[in-house]
């Protein structure tokens, strides 16, 4: 289980649990990591939604480019580490709508700066497009 990914007993993320829907009073974003365990492939023609035909595949979830960053509490913005270890604001990168798979500009890296967090690229229910 990933940090912040609160699961019910049957493995359903709590934010998807109909009894605890985040949408009933104050919808909030889903927890981090919701997409990281999506290893299942297509089910088959009998149950595959038509609208999921012709998906365009992009980056592997475990191969998103690494970005070393930290959050500056003083300036309240993300800072990235340069090659020499110095920190610069991460203001230049912007997510493009629909974040083309593999194009992770704008949202790269996990919340602790240790590695990629593909869910940061966007997510199906709170898509930034």
């Amino acid at each position: 289980m990933l940090e912040g990914d609160q699961m019910s007993e049957d493995g359903t993320p709590l934010w998807r649990d109909p009894l605890f829907s985040p949408g009933d009073r104050f919808p909030l974003g889903p927890p981090r990591g919701i997409m990281a365990d999506c290893q299942d492939g297509p089910s088959g023609p009998a149950t595959r939604p038509f609208s999921l035909r012709h998906l365009v595949a992009g980056a592997r979830l475990d191969e998103v480019p690494e970005l070393r960053w930290t959050y500056c509490h003083e300036r309240q913005i993300a800072m990235v580490y340069d090659e020499d270890g110095s920190l610069t604001p991460y203001l230049g990168a912007h997510t493009k709508p629909g974040a083309t798979p593999g194009d992770t500009s704008g949202y790269i890296g996990g919340p602790d700066g240790s590695g990629p967090g593909p869910e940061e690229v966007g997510d199906p229910d709170y898509q930034e497009d």
Binding site: G4, L28, G29, P30, P45, F50, H54, I77, P111
Partner: protein, 327 residues
């Protein structure tokens, strides 16, 4: 007078806004909801004058009565202490959501945007509101009937666009996957297996499309960018081929600008990113509005002062009235 920014720690759009506000001397309190409850404390008290209290982190705090506006931009979700049981997590999560959301929602402040208003803006409802607001929208269908799709296509006499209703990004087989808009040729209508597995969204194909527009509306200000696609994939869905896109500032017709403003008022939104197709006759056909749409790449490409306008709105704007539906 503080602007609260609710966003994940790694969010360049929020970074740029926070920097702009800070440079102007506007107090900003930024946090991700993942900070609650372990790195963000809430102490709210209700009295004769309503809710007041303090949100605090190790680094700063804000009194609820000092909050002027809230920018809500895809925050994460509460991160609860390790070791909780499932029942404890459910309980803690629900209590945090109702408590935090309930207190913040009750403040008499401007939200850009209030998450509940964003949740109201489902695509099918958007189409109806847009129509009522004087915007042209494509003929559309939501169905799980394959024969219904064929009937819809036959009646229209044009190709169909197959789109998703809930965003386009998916993760499957360990990869990110995009469900781009797809043009459905008549020959493909013989095999509609899977349409019956859930609801599907089809629209008339706009064959006379000259270019598309992403119009970002901040308060009453409109920043419209024409998007010219120079590849087949980009013409079907410009998100599919950024390398083939060029941009230009464009002025929407007056009725379109008025329609977008009315649309946002109807939903109680202060910000929206509208997508249009523009025909060779300069007819603007609205596809959808994303209440939290991206704009940074257009701001950079066309030198549009969208962040500045958003900072203006958050600093000087006032709470929106409750949404009402136009007659």
């Amino acid at each position: 007078m503080t602007v609260v920014v609710l966003a994940r720690d790694l969010n360049p759009t929020a970074d740029r806004l926070v920097t702009t506000l800070t440079d102007r001397g506007v107090p900003v309190f930024r946090t991700d909801l993942a900070a609650l409850p372990q790195a963000l404390t809430v102490d709210a008290r209700f009295g004769r004058h309503g809710w007041d209290g303090v949100l605090a982190t190790e680094h700063r705090e804000v009194r609820l009565s000092d909050i002027h506006s809230v920018c809500y931009r895809h925050p994460s979700y509460f991160e609860l202490p390790d070791g909780m049981s499932v029942t404890e997590r459910r309980h803690a999560s629900a209590e945090a959501r109702c408590g935090f959301g309930g207190v913040l929602s009750s403040l008499d402040v401007l939200w850009v945007n209030h998450p509940s208003r964003e949740s109201d803006a489902l695509k099918p409802r958007q189409l109806d509101v847009a129509r009522r607001c004087g915007l042209r929208v494509p003929d559309s269908q939501v169905t799980n009937r394959p024969d219904g799709v064929r009937e819809f296509a036959k009646n229209l006499g044009v190709a169909l666009a197959c789109k998703t209703l809930s965003g386009a990004l998916r993760a499957e087989s360990g990869r990110l996957q995009m469900a781009y808009t797809r043009r459905l040729e008549p020959s493909e209508l013989t095999d509609l297996d899977g349409v019956d597995t859930t609801l599907h969204f089809f629209q008339e194909w706009i064959g006379d499309k000259a270019f598309e527009v992403r119009a970002t509306v901040v308060g009453d200000q409109v920043f419209a960018a024409a998007i010219h696609a120079n590849s087949e994939a980009g013409r079907v869905d410009w998100r599919a081929d950024y390398d083939a896109l060029t941009y230009a500032i464009v002025e929407p017709p007056e009725h379109v600008t008025a329609g977008m403003r009315a649309f946002l008022r109807t939903f109680g939104l202060a910000f929206g990113a509208f997508d249009f197709a523009v025909t060779s006759d300069n007819e603007w056909i609205m596809f959808e509005c994303n209440p939290a749409g991206q704009y940074g790449w257009l701001e950079d490409a066309l030198d549009l002062p969208i962040t500045s306008a958003l900072a203006d709105l958050l600093t000087n704007g006032t709470r929106l009235c409750s949404p009402t539906l136009p007659s």
